[in-house]
Amino acid sequence: MDNMNLTLKIWRQKNAQDKGKMTDYNVTGISEHMSFLEMMDVLNEQLINSGDEPVAFDHDCREGICGSCSMFINGEAHGPVKGTTTCQLHMRSFSDGDTIYIEPFRAKAFPVIKDLIVDRSAFDRIQHAGGYISINTSGNTQDANATPIPKENADLAMDAAMCIGCGACVATCKNSSAMLFVGAKVSQYALLPQGQVESKMRAQNMVAQMDAEGFGNCTNTGACMVECPKGIDLSNIARLNRELLSGSLT
């Protein structure tokens, strides 16, 4: 269909201090082949043409790999299609005449900057606390293939490294827990020999920072895994728990 008419209920908030509220918009002439962000572009053109403030939202690559887009659409992070980011969601997932709720990712640790843009720098600070390897790379690093790594571990580490840090796990979790993100970041190093040297300290420091940022506690509902656009598995949270426990007890 090339001429969908939609009612959008969008969170509008001028800045971090503003209280914000849901505002209704009608958008017309939407093609089912458009991505969700293109539909938002059409809305913004309509708003600009009528002299209104366009809706601010995060976006960058529009290819599902940068983790920038972050909308909570009709009650789900990145919308109703599993395994997709908002930029990869297409309007064919909706019908003419639909009402669509569009909200920012909500968590105390992700304060709203403007409209649908939230500050996800809490994730950066968690990464700074331990999401790295302290290796001297000044010219004498050995060939990576010289260190044998079991295929299964290499695959699991790669799966964990698929996390794009979009924050859908936090937005989806009823507790606003960041455990899937931290679990993935800890796992991608813990599974490889290069990362195992600092593994226990890494888990402790990243969890300490996660707690300091004000994320909630994980209650193992599994919602994060279902809504994660990259399919990060819940077993990464169990690995994080193991890493932290073994680090704390030894």
């Binding site: 209920k9 909500r106 300290m201 402790q204 077993s235 728990n241 704390s248």
Partner: protein, 229 residues
């Protein structure tokens, strides 16, 4: 890299919830085993109940651990729920929780509070009278007054005989316990860091069986004594 951890982390808190949960699940199994004896033989139930009520290891070691586990699990569970609510100050206008998680996993606080309310009734029915007889009246004989018969079976029957409201309350409570265990059993393993492609599916099946069979057993005992006397 130097450690920045101070005090108990959010994961540490969850591990303690899981460990107390494990102990409480073990306790449920043990409690049901003894209750089922009342269906098979009044004498057997009396003897085992008297043993449990007077054995120094059970009373001096296991009972304090049980009380600690119950209190800690409830108080800590409610505190974690409060913390989790604080982690999202502004709620969503539309939130489809059912699209990605089970009702049981999202509402542990509701099923947990229902079980807590049941415990109040259960303590009123059994534990407080037991403490009164043993430690206030000082009667450790376990006998019905003026007889040579143990009192435990009679007390159990008395609570359910001709008491349909109490039986219905027990059934509702054990349905809530079942809902709590349907998530709690397998969640406890995840919290202590156990998740394997080989055994986690088995743990989930075992958890579902445990979560249905144990509460069903308690309901069966209540129904048997309600219907057969």
């Amino acid at each position: 890299m130097a450690s920045k951890v101070q005090g108990l982390t959010s994961i540490g808190r969850k591990v303690i919830m899981a460990l107390t949960g494990f102990f409480l699940m073990f306790f449920l199994l043990q409690h049901l085993s003894i209750n089922m004896m009342s269906v098979v033989s009044a004498e057997l139930f009396n003897e085992v109940s008297h043993f449990m009520g007077t054995n120094p290891i059970v009373q001096g070691l296991l009972q304090p651990i049980l009380i600690f586990s119950v209190v800690f699990h409830f108080v800590w569970g409610m505190y974690l729920e409060y913390q989790n609510n604080q982690a999202r100050e502004i709620k969503y206008a539309m939130y489809k929780g059912s699209a990605n998680a089970s009702w049981m996993s999202r509402n542990m606080i509701i099923s947990g509070l229902a079980v807590l309310a049941f415990l109040a009734l259960h303590f009123y029915d059994f534990w407080i009278p037991e403490m009164n007889v043993k430690y206030i009246q000082g009667d450790m004989s376990g006998m019905l007054s003026g007889t040579e018969e143990y009192r435990y079976y009679e007390e159990l029957v008395h609570k359910f005989k001709g008491q349909p409201i109490r039986v219905v309350l027990y059934i509702i409570s054990f349905v809530m316990l079942s809902l709590h265990l349907l998530h709690g059993f397998q969640s406890s393993f995840q919290s202590v860091g156990y998740n394997s492609t080989k055994y986690t599916p088995i743990i989930k099946i075992a958890g579902n069986i445990f979560a249905i069979a144990i509460p069903a057993g308690f309901v069966l005992v209540a129904l048997v004594h309600f219907l057969s006397h």
